[in-house]
Every structure is written in C-alpha cells, then in structure tokens.
C-alpha cells in the first residue's frame, strides 16, 4: 500500500507498517534538543519525577541516550537575566554529568544548529521544546515541538506516548517566482489562504517543481512558518539538494555520508493518501507582508506603505546565508532611514562568521545597522529591541501576535529579508523589486 513520508518514517521507527490515524502507544524518538527556556524546568522535573525510580532499580540517574540529546541555549543569550544565567548553568552542569552535548551561548538558534551540525538527519523523528522544531522538516525528518512534560518523559525513556500518526495535507507548488519573491512570500501567501488553524492535525507536505528548485534556506523558511497555520509539522521529501546539504553538515562534525544515513531517507509514494491537496501557483505570488496581528493576515507589499520604526532581520525563519545575502545586496552603499532602527542577527555563529568573512557584516554596519551575536533576539520579546507602544516593526521572523515583541500596543509586520532591507532604507514598508 502506498504511504506518505510521515507514515514511512513512523513505520521505520516502529519496525512495522503504520497508517495515518493509527495510535502508537510508545513512539521511540531519534533526537531531542532543548533551549534554555524549557531545559531548566524539564531537568528539574525529570529529577523530581524519576530519581526514586532509578534509585529503586539500583541505577544511577541516566538519560535514555545522551548522544541523542543536545542543549542549545539560544532564546535570550548572552543571558539577559540572573534566572536565565542560572538556568543555563543548570543545563551545563547536567550536560556534563550526563554526557550530553551543550552548545555555547551564541553558537546559534537551536533550529539552525540542529540542521547545520547534522544533529537531525533525514528520516529521523526529532522533537524539541519549541514549536518551530518543524523547521527540520526541510531535511525530510519528522520533527515537531513538545511541552516540558513530554520532554522530561523523553529524557527518561526516549519515547513519546499515545502518538497519533498524523494525516498529511499536500501543497503542490508550481510556477517560477517573480523577481523579488522568495520562499517567505510564498509561505505568508499560503498562511493567508489557510488561516491560523487551517492545517491543524495535519502534516503540511510541500512538493512540486517550485519546491524542488529551492535551496535549503528557502525550504527551512517554508517549514518553519507552517506551524503558524497550526500544522502538526511540515515536511519536504529529501532530494539531491537535501543530501548535498546534509553531506556538508556531516563534514562539519567530521562525519561522513554513509549508507546508514542514506538508508534512513523516506519519500512519499505518488499515490499515497492525502487528506487534502492544495495547489499553489508560485508565479502569482507577489512580495508579501503579514499585517498586525496575525501571520495569516497576508497582503501584497504593493498595497502597504506604513511607516516603520524597527526592522528586525533575524530569527529561525530567515537569517541564514541566502537571507543575509539578499538583504546585503539591497543595503550595499545605502543608509538605514534616520527614523528606523535596523537590528541584524545571523542565525548561527557559523553564519555570523561567514557574513564577516564575506564582507556582509561591513555592509550592514556601514548602513547603520545594529549587529548582534546569534540568538532569537527581539522575536522572543525579552531583549535586544523591545517595542514601545506605537512602534511599528517589520520582522523577518514568524509571529506578529499582539505583544509578541514588547508592548501590546506595538504593531508587527512579517516579511522577507528583501522587504526588510528595502523597508530599512525607506523607513516605511517598501517593495524590494526596485532595488533588485
């Protein structure tokens, strides 16, 4: 019987064939990573809830498999408060005691590191304590966010309980992007069509010639934002582009592409059962922004010209090499508008250093940007550019909820790095096409 990539990944994990809708009592998970928001309470709860079970069994406290766990402090680092510092210290101590890899503050945003460092691989089941874990779907992994309790359970047993194999909604994307249109515009357009609850209970699987032609950065962006239509997660069938990326990521950790890695790859069968097929014509998509206060409130940028006081180029959605490249192209030799504050935060230390080596940071600095070390930045609404009442911010991130980045009386717009750069220059929402 034909299967979706999601069904195949769960089937591989279970060692038997499963179908969408099926209840899995205990699903073994391949990888789990933690940020410093949920890591500390998860560690505390893990110790509180399971310590006595280890003691009764005559064992020392040991997570299910330290090689499958990673800690990535990224939300408000370098630490912005005493509690955050304490939490990171707790993670570091626990990591050392358990043999878990602990990344340093500034190494990058968890979802960027997880793929750049080949921590998550195609065909794996990966979870993390953050809803944007769906970003790893671009690798062809089944990856999604979980809460603190499921994470502490996973530390103990490596399993997720009472998991329903989700249905899949397939987005078939064809057509060539117009000039100035990127994957961010495409996914904002899709969110606008579907609404914030439009993909609930379903995996959003993206296919078609447009997706095939995208680089990995573009694919990560699309998967990242799919949770804004409440998708269970997003996924893209791995192809040569994926495997080239994974090969380079493995090389970074001095590992090689092996038959074991290749053997994990799954792809949906052509005639697999989808709950719905949505056709998207990418050639009709214009540069798009989502207006306050919903990611699904999408409008063509040509219809918007609101004044903007803060531009944020960063986040797990849009701060990799290709994103910074297009912004630098527009900002080169230009100045940020006197009425606007531009904040640039590369998605990882690797991207930061790459941007430095290739002169992009100089372009941003010369334009008048504030460049920060890698972290989630103002998207988390706690440091590095908190919005005041009345502020209007254009952000390349994924959520423009009221109050998300500071005052509930501020206004947040979402757009691509190209829109962000053009907007920073003009001090109002601007169409990037005239700069390209």
């Amino acid at each position: 019987m034909p299967s979706t990539i999601t069904e195949k990944i769960v089937s591989r994990a279970m060692g038997r064939k499963v179908k969408a809708g099926e209840l899995i009592e205990a699903l073994p998970v391949d990888k789990i990573y933690f940020n410093e928001v949920i890591g500390p309470p998860a560690i505390l709860n893990f110790q509180k809830d399971f310590q006595d079970v280890y003691t009764e069994s005559g064992k020392r406290v040991q997570v299910f498999n330290p090689a499958r766990v990673a800690f990535m402090p990224d939300h408000t680092v370098p630490s912005c408060s005493i509690m955050v510092s304490q939490g990171i210290k707790m993670m570091a101590d626990f990591a050392k005691q358990q043999g878990i890899q602990m990344y340093k503050e500034g190494d990058g945003i968890e979802h960027t590191i997880a793929s750049e460092e080949a921590f998550v691989l195609p065909g794996e089941i990966a979870v993390a304590t953050d809803s944007h874990t769906c970003t790893q779907g671009a690798l062809g992994a089944l990856a999604f966010g979980i809460g603190t309790t499921e994470a502490e359970n996973l530390l103990a047993t490596g399993e997720l309980y009472s998991f329903y194999v989700p249905d899949t909604m397939r987005f078939e994307v064809s057509g060539k992007f117009q000039k100035g249109v990127y994957s961010k515009d495409l996914v904002l357009h899709v969110l606008g069509t579907m609404g914030e609850g439009g993909c609930s209970k379903n995996v959003a699987e993206y296919t078609g010639p447009t997706i095939d032609s995208l680089d990995m950065e573009g694919r990560f962006t699309i998967c990242n934002l799919s949770v804004e239509m409440s998708a269970r997660t997003a996924i893209i069938n791995p192809d040569d582009t994926t495997m080239r990326y994974v090969g380079e990521a493995l090389a970074r950790r001095k590992a090689k592409m092996t038959d074991d890695v290749r053997g994990m790859i799954a792809r949906s069968d052509k005639d697999a059962a989808f709950s719905r097929v949505v056709k998207v014509d990418a050639s009709q998509v214009e540069p798009t922004v989502s207006l306050p206060h919903s990611p699904a409130n999408a409008k063509p940028v040509s219809q918007v010209s609101d004044p903007i006081s803060v531009v944020f180029l960063g986040s797990c959605a849009n701060a990799r090499e290709a994103d910074l490249t297009v912004a630098a192209k527009i900002l080169k030799g230009r100045k940020v508008s006197p009425s606007t504050n531009l904040i640039v935060i590369p998605a990882s230390r690797r991207v930061y250093n790459w941007a430095m080596d290739n002169g992009l940071l100089k372009i941003f600095a010369d334009a008048g940007a504030n460049i920060e070390s890698s972290n989630c930045g103002p998207c988390f609404g706690k440091h590095m550019g908190i919005l005041a009442p009345g502020d209007r911010c254009l952000s390349t991130s994924n959520r423009n909820y009221k109050g998300r980045m500071g005052s509930p009386e501020a206004f947040i717009y979402l757009g691509s790095p190209a829109v962000a750069a053009a907007t920073a220059v003009e001090g109002r929402i601007a169409d990037p096409r005239k700069y390209l």
Partner: protein, 176 residues
C-alpha cells in the same frame, strides 16, 4: 467522572499561547503558580480576577485555542487560576497534549457559541457529555478513548514511571 465549573471567560478564535502567557515571564521562574499570576496579563488583564472568582472556573473559546508556541507554561497559567477545563471547538496538537499532561481538561465540542459567561457547566467524561446546566442544553464531547482515559488519570506520569522501571530492569546491571 464528572467535573463542574462556571464559565469565567469567553474568547474568540486563534488564542495563541503568547496571549495566554507572555514570553518575558517564561524564564523567570520554575514555579508553576508564578505563571498563573501573569496569565493573559498583556492580552486580557481581567482574566485572573474573573477565573479566581470561582472555585472551579471554565474557559470557553471558539476555534484553535492554544495555537503558536509550545510553552507548557500556558497550561499552568490557566490551570492554577482555578480553571478545571477549557471548552473550545478545536485545539492544535501541542497545546492539547500539554493539557492532557497537566490535568487541565481540553474539552472539544462542535459549537461553543451558546455557552455564556456565568453559565454552570457539567462535564461527564464517561458519557462524553457537556451539559450547560444554566441553559439545560447538552453537547457531545469529541475525544479519542485514549484522551478520555488521560483526562481521567490527570496525566501519564504513573505510566511513564512504570515504563522506565521496566526499561531499567531490562538493562544489564552496571557497576557503579
């Protein structure tokens, strides 16, 4: 198993977890009650007093309640304000699972439009019926058998501890 409560608050569609508990609070405590004190503080500062006015409160919403961030603190923020259940027309998966793990009942019914603020609700998990005692109307609760079971247990901790016990038993003894 039956649970009773009074509708303390009504919300619309797409209430995200940022609205329920703002991000700037998340790293500032490891105590669940702390989040109750900050529930909805940016989005609806009247929530806390309304929920605490009853011994058992119920929150009612339309579609997609709890969307967005996976922060489990959103569940603590609601639950520790005397809230026993959230009744909505749909829930996204992460929030629904976080509710089940913490003994906050996520009750899905087809139409919540008639459940008014102040109404007395009776949730019967065995017959899967939500009764609006004030209005005398009843609604079928949509849930899988497993979810109902978890709602009755108030979470899975007991099961996971047993599972860990079995796994540790199966491991070879290691010298420590």
């Amino acid at each position: 198993m039956q649970v009773r409560g009074k509708v303390a608050k009504r919300f619309g569609d797409d209430i995200n977890t940022d609205y329920i508990i703002p991000a700037y609070t998340l790293q500032e405590s490891w105590d669940k009650q702390f989040f109750a004190d900050h529930a909805f503080e940016s989005y609806d500062p009247s929530f806390k007093a309304a929920a605490r006015a009853n011994k058992e409160s119920i929150v009612v919403a339309y579609n997609n309640f709890g969307c967005g961030s996976s922060r489990e603190q959103a569940v603590y923020a609601i639950k520790y304000n005397n809230v026993v259940a959230v009744v909505a027309q749909s829930f996204p998966d992460i929030f629904y699972r976080n509710c089940l793990n913490n003994g906050l009942l996520p009750i899905q019914v087809e139409d919540t439009s008639k459940l008014a603020q102040g109404d007395e609700l009776l949730i019967d998990l065995d017959s899967r019926t939500l009764t609006d005692v004030t209005k005398g109307s009843s609604h079928r609760i949509i849930a899988t058998d497993v979810a109902i079971e978890q709602m009755k247990r108030g979470g899975f901790l007991g099961l996971v501890r047993e599972r860990l016990r079995q796994k540790l038993k199966a491991q070879p003894q290691r010298a420590s």
